[in-house]
Symmetry: D3
Subunit: 293 residues, 6 copies
């Protein structure tokens, strides 16, 4: 496992539109409602053209630009789109991310949907980049969780990648994560791990949540792939890392934030995970400036 190179060396692979176009269509439909854009439809003279610049009002890491721009395209294929920025890159406040040209009506009708998408996803990316920068010096990866906005798992996981982070499980079905409840209800960790191995496919990794060194040792003895060191004080965390070194990967979680991240990463854990990246990161401030009628 290795920490990702910087964005320049390791460009983010774009999502296939088939993975987000229906989502964007639903977002547009949610805003247009049954009657469409009453304001633009009634106030703009027919045929008015406009040019508008999508701008980052604050500095941050961009994520979701092609997704946001799809809002214009899906509303009106005749809109011209000039892309000036790239997902996975940092921008300064004031950077023009894209320029759209075409019917003023379309541009104003799609504006809010596009900005909501871009602001939300860039907010996730920006928070992830901040945390990654703190963890990287120690060789620790930043990973997200399943604490995502309902309906946006694919997009928010993508935004995490744009922020230089890595993805944890995408759902309940792509890896095993044995938590304390599973352990208790299964009659102990050994029983849980044995049953899991007997049942699931050969490409499914097993991660186990542990809270004590004794639990950690048991997990190591069972040969699990990853241990989730949950809410451990830094001192205990260091001991856990030492114990696990070379035997399984280590992930620290619980109270990870920009204030704590460096100290946690410095313990030598392989990964630090944080739910706030997807459930509480503030949106990046983005806007659309109409520059010409």
């Amino acid at each position: 496992m290795s920490v990702p190179a910087d964005a320049a060396a390791n460009p983010v692979v774009p999502l296939y539109p088939i993975l987000y176009e229906d989502f964007v269509r639903r977002a547009l439909a949610e805003d247009l409602g049954r009657a469409g854009d009453l304001t633009s439809d009634s106030t703009l003279p027919p045929g008015v053209q406009a040019e508008a610049r999508m701008v980052a009002r604050a500095a941050g890491r961009i994520a979701g630009l092609p997704i946001a721009l799809a809002a214009f395209r899906l509303l009106d294929p005749a809109i011209e789109i000039e892309v000036r920025a790239e997902d996975g890159r940092d921008v300064e406040a004031g950077t023009v991310l894209a320029v759209v040209r075409g019917a003023a009506r379309t541009i104003l009708s799609a504006e809010r949907t596009a900005l909501n998408l871009l602001g939300q996803l860039s907010g996730v990316a920006t928070a992830t980049r901040e945390l990654s920068a703190l963890a990287a010096p120690y060789g620790a990866r930043v990973v997200c969780t399943r604490k995502t906005t309902p309906g946006m798992r694919t997009l928010e996981k993508y935004a995490v990648r744009c922020g230089g982070g890595h993805n944890h499980r995408f759902g309940l079905d792509d890896a095993i994560l044995i938590k304390d409840n599973h352990r208790a209800l299964a009659g102990g960790l050994r029983a849980a791990v044995v049953r899991a191995r007997q049942t699931v496919g050969h490409l499914v990794k097993i991660e186990v949540e542990v809270e004590t060194l004794a639990q950690l040792q048991e997990a190591i003895d069972l040969g699990v792939d990853v241990v989730l060191l949950d809410n451990m004080p830094l001192d205990l965390l260091r001991q856990a890392v030492a114990l696990a070194k070379g035997k399984c990967l280590t992930e620290a979680s619980g109270g990870i934030n920009p204030r704590s991240a460096a100290a946690v990463a410095a313990t030598g854990v392989d990964m630090i995970s944080a739910g706030y990246l997807t459930h509480s990161a503030p949106a990046l401030d983005v806007a659309l400036d109409v520059v010409e009628g």
Copy 2:
């Protein structure tokens, strides 16, 4: 127009399930993926029952409890649900919001979806309640914007109501909001307002964004219903309120947050609106404690 009474006197009207069940189903499906909950399915012995408590880890205003609990019900109609809290009420940290009983497998499989829904919506409600408390002494309403999470407009607007706030437009189609771009592209405010009145239905109100007192006076002269006083310094805001008093409703926006809200409300505006309530409010910390196997 009047500021809402407190929650006890003015209970939140629940959403019809038809307005959110498909959303919850999609959220569950997003987490279960193609293979379902590999961990619970493989580690739990068949037939294990459990009881779990949904708990607020932090104090806050609850929103979305019936929506979150639908995750359990939609996965397994046999789950027993005991509701102990109510949307639109404040709870202390540690409050048990609901107790669910039934198949341990179902409870653990639905857990994350339920918590994501409840945490996100209660986060919106909690931020709204905080702002409302600051604005209420001055008789100002807190209103939300269209800067919502894509796909969650109905739910987040509901959460704003749970927080004691009021809703602004639900979309582009339920009111007219003439912003500077419309004004410019329409050839002036008068032309825009005249065209709008000529075109749209008799139940559509007209709000106009203004930045100067001259613009405000023009809007008043045109008889618009509401003016959006955007990013005005407090002093200018006070003058605007005085000018508009008795002629149209006034809404202040731009940089509204818990630090600025009281001062803005003190200017006498009828409403203060804030996008961060829906796009950047941190999730409320909620958890599920399995208490018994």
Copy 3:
């Protein structure tokens, strides 16, 4: 409020295709079923081309032409479409509305879906235009209701606009309309209006149904935006209009039809509303003439 200028001065703003393409796709799929067009597929030699003219067999007001033509385009993007008429305009019997050229198979397979859409929507527009012509001399607007064909609210409201009418509420969520049942169950009109104002957003207008002058006076005193004068005899209607003049808008409903419309409009009401425009207007007779193989 003002009566719309004629169609030439006030062109109908087209719907974004995103608001109807799924509906047209479902209509096509409903006709094609599981096996497609057995007749055309089996009888036409491969590769046969055709040209066909979409014609109005009767005089009327056109609505839905781009929607109807989408049926050809969605079935086969290679179909050439020449549009010769415009939504919101009157046509004589025999007018060619559009010419389509391409695979004969596609043209015949999409024919019925296209005609059903155009005929139904132009029927609504034609009935609306007829009523509008009767009301216009008195300065009264014609407005539609929520008595629309299930699933076609957006399209039929659009057709009403094409007919020179105006839209009433699009649904239960874009304005308040307090009817007698609400009044009775709420414990009187005052209680109902107070609760409504306390609860809903500042951009929501309130309309109240009244049947007597006393009720009308109460509504005026409460400052409601619009009164719905339901089923009032002409004489009472005139008194109501006089009472409401300058205080709120007046809408007459109940038994409005081409025979009664002028007399009702002559009372001075601002609007007359009629459910039959959307639930019972006969379809306009439109046809597709294949002119060349």
Copy 4:
């Protein structure tokens, strides 16, 4: 082929809910929009119960009662529904068709959707029954066409059966209907019929549109199952019926309406078909009377 017995002897077979529940859900969602029923939600005190009677304001043939009532049930499973009428039966003006009891809010929120469904479908059934009564003395069946409201094919065809009519094709894929365009483009009727027989399954009947006796003779010689005698004068129609007797079924179409139906049926045709039954029948006047709070 035989004319259907009266409704009492030949009850209409109800549709499986799986064939209409999604349609009713979409209709409800279309009316509730994003915010739900603002009026009922804001004006009604919590917990108010009501009883309401669904009433036929005019005499007619009922169709769609279970479909309309599903609107209440799908909004709130706790609503009690007492069904007092039956699809496929005639009712007098004033007849109570069903009584619903439960939350006043639900009853008022579902009212319009339920009435729109019932009114539209009963309108189709009533028009069909009227035509059937005229045709029955001559042993002729009334059949509908594919000129249905987009999205409502299944429901309107059902309403035709409720009206005592019979269904023509449900779509392009359940029978062959060779019209003049097919004949011309295929290079003659013989070529068309031969190709059709060679291609389609053994359970697909072939109907051919004819306008002259020569065309009719050609169709008979080719052994087609049904001929569509389009727009023939009565005299020609009688000759056509005589020629076809015992060789194929005869269907008359074109200008069939209550004024012409008896005369056309009297020619001895097996069926008369009319598009207006589904595209232009006025809705039956139905209402919901709230009788008790």
Copy 5:
């Protein structure tokens, strides 16, 4: 009724994309999941182009080529597709069916979806062609059943046509097939047929399953269109065919397979039907060879 000419003379009519594109999109989405193609996305350098050949590894009858190729197009409209084969034709092992050129990533991501579609449908066509070849010398048609893969009725019925077979019913709603259960529950065949004729439309044929000559005679006397001779020994089948000759069509079913088909067809039945064509035919072995990076 006539046996179809060979493929060259009777080309298969292609399905409209509207009938399968959603199915292909769902198939792609099912394979891409929430994260997309991890392997291609992570291992391929950005911008790598490729050319790939879709090849038949075994000889067979092709069906579904345009459907399979839609997988590439729907994932990325920029993929170039060169079609080298045609549905409804036989190919040798090794035949290149199509060449696709474009982003290597797209080609590899769509590969499995495309091959699954093509392999499954060509498997159906190949099995059908084999059976058709055995039945054709005796003038018997091969027909499929409703024993299709859930969700693939339209596509598998099309594949049967590609194999030179004919389609039986597409569902429960396009023809009557009275089986022994219906006969028993209806109180005898006569009652069943009379009720059916009284009820259903004039374009619905009636087929009756019979097991004895007495039942066959009863069906003939009732004038049914087709008899299904189920599981009859060859000798009995021959007698049945003799009895039915010129009175109704005959379809043999039960245990039809390549070993029995010729003997059954030799009895003179009009059709032989076999469920295995759609539920148990092995997929045709097709592959994608990447020829150039």
Copy 6:
């Protein structure tokens, strides 16, 4: 990794209905079409009840029984269902799997959909069980592939588990499988593996397809989790297994079938994978016997 215990010791975990109910609804809708079950609706007298037994006509391994029975329940919640067998168990020919009681109409309308689901999935399970029995003595697991029926990935993977097999990847997004094309386009295996590790999450395993011992050694040196030994002769396979022993898991693929399985398993590979289990397994013969009217 261990071979699964027999079915008695290791019961199959049922799928949540949310994972298949929409699929069953679509399958029912596909069969009912627009008009429903013409035969049952027209021939059965109203109110006829029936009891029917779902029976295995051939011996096999059952999969999908709850899924098949959902067809009855979703069509009519009043149908009584008595389940007599269990997914993941073997049954003899003639075994009654379930008894359904209720409206004869519902039972006959749902019959084919239920049987198609059960037959198809039990066919997959039966083929898997056969292969598993051959591989188990050698401690080898049987695993499936992504060569599944489009739209049925979740269900067929479940059927494989019912057959005692294990699941390979569910899609392109839950594990890395580097095939020869990826290797070539990435510039060699090392580059591919390094890029993959750098990019994807820590719970994603890497499998590599190898064809020679040199490739195998390279994969082992890179520390991959699993090697896919594709189309190797038995002798080479044995050498590969010896080389990989203790270093990574080994999966044999290519031409695995009941004739070859034991010999391949005897080489000591950990897994044998076979596409035919899902794309070409014949359906199990199941039927519905109506026993009582």
